[in-house]
């Protein structure tokens, strides 16, 4: 048996600092919103001429009065991603096409064009925030129905930790937040909850079984009993996610990365945060027996 409980205090400090650092990052550095939420235009180009590179493209486009243009390589040497802010000109894409063809010859394939107006991006951001909030509230209601309040608090804190720290990491690394990241965050919420609930189920079962074991050791027994399941599920989920990350193409990379972070944080938080809360709140057999009597 691994003595997870010996490290409760250390990890309590770690979790709190991670959340604080993430919050600071989110407040001061902010998130790198993609065009879905900020509005603007995105063009994915493939060139057939290997001489064309990021700086020659950037030089060319910067003469076009597009405002803040970003040009990046996208996946391999011949693919580029161009992004710029919302433009009044309705024919801007056509003009870029003409301009590039004039400067570099007819060597481009416009693989993807996305243009999100300011009104739509504001709506997408709002509905993204609503979706995550509704998910958190529904999880809260679900766990509140299923468990005693001490457990609910632990699960919700773990959940907030996972979402905040994942977003914090995205802020730190400057990774782009787009619609698929919202999907990833919601899936993380589901996954983290799932992991926590499995351990809590066992804690509650053990509370009924052993009246003489303190919650400090009882959580440790429960974690150990469910540990192989926790690890196996995390591993298979990570195997699936890693294969999306490495082979699923450039478009799914951010999504799979967010999920990979989320699964790791989710596994960590269900062991450390969720259980630490139970210990701090001195949950005992009485906690669940009281509830049993009520129902």
């Amino acid at each position: 048996m691994i003595a997870f409980n010996n490290h409760y205090n250390k990890f309590k400090i770690l979790s709190v600092s991670l959340v604080v650092i993430s919050l600071l990052l989110l407040i001061f550095k902010g998130l790198n919103f993609g065009i879905d939420f900020k509005g603007g235009t995105l063009i994915e180009l493939r060139s057939t001429d290997s001489k064309i590179n990021v700086s020659s493209l950037r030089d060319n486009l910067s003469q076009m009065n597009l405002g803040d243009v970003s040009v990046k390589k996208f996946g391999n040497e011949t693919d580029f991603l161009i992004k710029f802010e919302n433009n009044e000109n309705k024919n801007i894409i056509e003009e870029i096409k003409l301009n590039l063809d004039k400067s570099f010859g007819n060597n481009f394939n416009f693989r993807r064009v996305e243009n999100v107006g300011p009104k739509v991006s504001a709506e997408l951001l709002r509905s993204g925030i609503i979706a995550i909030s509704v998910a958190l509230v529904l999880m809260l209601i679900y766990i509140w129905i299923r468990f005693e309040w001490q457990f609910s608090l632990g699960a919700i804190l773990a959940l907030f930790h996972d979402v905040i720290v994942t977003l914090g990491l995205f802020s730190l690394l400057g990774l782009e937040i787009n619609l698929s990241i919202i999907a990833a965050v919601l899936t993380i919420v589901g996954y983290s909850m799932n992991d926590t609930v499995v351990i809590f189920d066992r804690v509650r079962e053990n509370l009924r079984k052993y009246s003489d074991i303190k919650i400090f050791d009882l959580t440790n027994i429960s974690i150990n009993e469910t540990l192989s399941r926790t690890l196996i599920t995390s591993i298979t989920t990570l195997l699936a996610l890693l294969s999306i990350f490495f082979f699923g193409g450039e478009i799914l990379r951010g999504f799979s990365l967010a999920m990979i972070f989320g699964v790791i944080f989710g596994t960590y938080s269900s062991i450390y945060i969720a259980n630490t809360v139970l210990v701090s709140l001195r949950v005992s057999q009485k906690t669940i027996l009281k509830e049993d009597e009520k129902s």
Binding site: E44, K90, N91, E94, N109, R111, R112, V113, E114, N115, V116, G117, K119, V120, L124, S127, G128, I130, A131, V134, A135, L138, M139, R146, L179, S180, I182, A183, L186, T187, G190, Y191, M193, N194, V197, V198, D201, R202, E225, R229, I232, T233, T236, T237, L238, L239, A240, L241, L242, S243, I244, F246, F247, G248, G249, I251, L252, F255, S256, M259
Partner: protein, 517 residues
């Protein structure tokens, strides 16, 4: 938990085989109607254009209120009430009257039988709202009035957009209403939406009006620019003909001038008016105005009574074709703005399919190998259940002809990764039970029973996330939530019917064996 009746075994086998058959219809062709269904590919996988259009209703509101000024003046004139200082500002009509008539005005506008202000009994609201401030009346659209106006202009716009897109002949366009002032257009397979965008961006309001020299035309006049921006001309506001009078329009080559023109045919009313105007107006310039710009203003040389004519204006064949198309399909009630556009080229779509399939194959293989090495015989059972799970998932998507997107494929891969969780929970529980219980059958039975709540909890939490995504998400994200959500049900089925059935068969055969799992 270990009992399986013969009937149940039969049904489980039947369902599994059926879904394998249905799933395979995506890869083979069946002559059977029922089996000839396929999963639709989203625009991000097959390539195509997604356009969200917003109707700009403000010109319509302005126009309607403008018309209302005349109606109001005439209506009260008959009642010998003078309307003073009537003006239109910020979509609000304001005027004043002598004090003694104030009540009459209010009564007319708030009467449920009002001639001027239609009443919607269903919504208990008038079309217009009247308010009085500093002896000045303000009239504006009520909330319900605006909704009615927007809905009707959306209906009209939808019809025109559909006609224009049908004229171009793209395959299986999807044109839908969104809210009450938006139209969603999905055009599969279209990789360059430039032409459609320019066609949808034009209102195509065509009028024929005389060019005047005297600015005191009784209908009023306005200064308009030519299409090429070169000159301006003063044009009467009196409309001789409008696009509504057109029966047909086609691009043509004028054999005399060797110029591309748009030839048109007028309806009976139009032909009559055109004939009259051309006979009285010989020597005058007739301006052809499209969306506030003059295309050309030819001098009338002869009476045209045939009800057909030509528009010239330095067209290329393409621009003449487009103008003819716009004129045939009619004018939009209000301008449309493209507020969101997402276009994926067909080769990127194919690349995404390939990458998604490779990721699925590798992810699947890794999970299967891992589980097999971890649980051996039971790993094999889990894997068989996992494969059937995949067929069930693909089969359900096929039956409903659901749309598969790239994030949807990610959802399938994720389902593969998380689907084993339930079996892992069960097997780990059985292992624990076997520590105290030597009877294999009892240990397996209680392993299944005791792990049930945890499995349900785990799946419900994921389902909550998937449902929210489905209702809140757009486009590709919906695809992800769909596969993730359906995946939960197919996983539960494959775990509790297929994997359990195989486990039961194996355990009953080996009930005396020690260290079974």
């Amino acid at each position: 938990m270990l009992n399986f009746s013969k009937l149940r075994i039969f049904f489980v086998t039947l369902i599994s085989l059926l879904f394998i058959l249905i799933s395979s219809s995506n890869f083979f062709k069946f002559s059977n109607e029922l089996l000839n269904k396929k999963i639709n590919l989203g625009l991000d996988l097959q390539g195509g254009s997604y356009l969200l259009l917003e109707i700009d209703n403000s010109p319509v509101i302005e126009q309607k209120l403008q018309n209302l000024t005349i109606t109001i003046k005439n209506y009260f004139k008959e009642k010998n009430i003078r309307i003073n200082n009537i003006k239109l500002l910020d979509q609000k009509l304001s005027f004043d009257v002598e004090d003694q008539f104030k009540q009459v005005i209010i009564d007319v506008f708030t009467d449920e039988e009002s001639d001027l202000n239609p009443y919607y009994p269903r919504f208990k609201s008038h079309q217009l709202e009247i308010s009085e401030e500093n002896d000045i009346f303000n009239i504006e659209y009520s909330k319900q009035g605006l909704v009615e106006l927007k809905t009707s202009s959306q209906d009209q716009a939808l019809e025109i957009v559909r006609r224009r897109i049908d004229e171009i002949g793209t395959n299986e366009p999807n044109i839908l209403k969104r809210g009450n002032d938006r139209i969603l257009v999905e055009l599969p397979g279209l990789d360059d939406p430039m032409r459609i965008k320019s066609l949808l961006g034009k209102t195509a309001n065509l009028t024929f009006r005389f060019v005047t020299t005297n600015t005191e035309d009784s209908f009023g006049s306005e200064k308009l620019k030519y299409e090429d921006g070169s000159e301006e001309a003063i044009v009467s506001k009196r409309i001789i003909l409008s696009g509504d009078n057109l029966l047909d329009a086609q691009p043509r080559m004028n054999s005399e001038t060797n110029e591309t023109v748009v030839s048109f045919t007028l309806d009976r009313v139009g032909a009559k008016r055109f004939g009259k105007a051309t006979s009285t107006g010989i020597g005058k310039q007739l301006a052809i105005v499209l969306d506030g710009k003059i295309i050309s203003a030819p001098v009338i040389r002869d009476t045209i009574a045939s009800g057909s004519g030509q528009i010239s204006g330095g067209f290329t064949f393409q621009s003449a074709t487009d103008l003819a198309l716009l004129l045939r399909s009619g004018a939009l009630p209000a301008p449309l703005n493209i507020i969101e556009e997402r276009t994926v080229g067909p080769d990127l779509g194919q690349d995404s399919i390939n990458a998604g399939m490779i990721a699925l194959a590798i992810g699947f293989l890794l999970v299967i190998l891992f589980i097999f090495f971890k649980y051996r015989v039971f790993g094999l059972i889990t894997n068989i259940a996992l494969i059937i799970n995949l067929f069930l998932l693909v089969g359900i998507l096929t039956i409903f002809e659901a749309t598969l997107t790239l994030p949807g494929i990610a959802g399938i891969i994720l389902t593969v990764g998380m689907a084993v969780d339930a079996n892992v929970l069960i097997f780990e529980r059985i292992k624990e039970e076997l520590k105290d219980e030597k009877n294999n059958l009892i240990a397996f039975d209680s392993g299944y029973t005791k792990s049930r709540t945890a499995i349900l909890d785990a799946n419900i939490t994921t389902l909550i996330a998937a449902i929210i995504l489905f209702f809140m998400g757009s486009g590709p994200i919906k695809g992800f939530s769909l596969t993730l959500g359906i995946g939960i049900f197919t996983t539960l089925f494959s775990v509790y019917f297929i994997a359990r059935l195989l486990t039961v068969i194996y355990v009953i055969k080996n009930k005396e064996k020690v260290g079974l799992i």
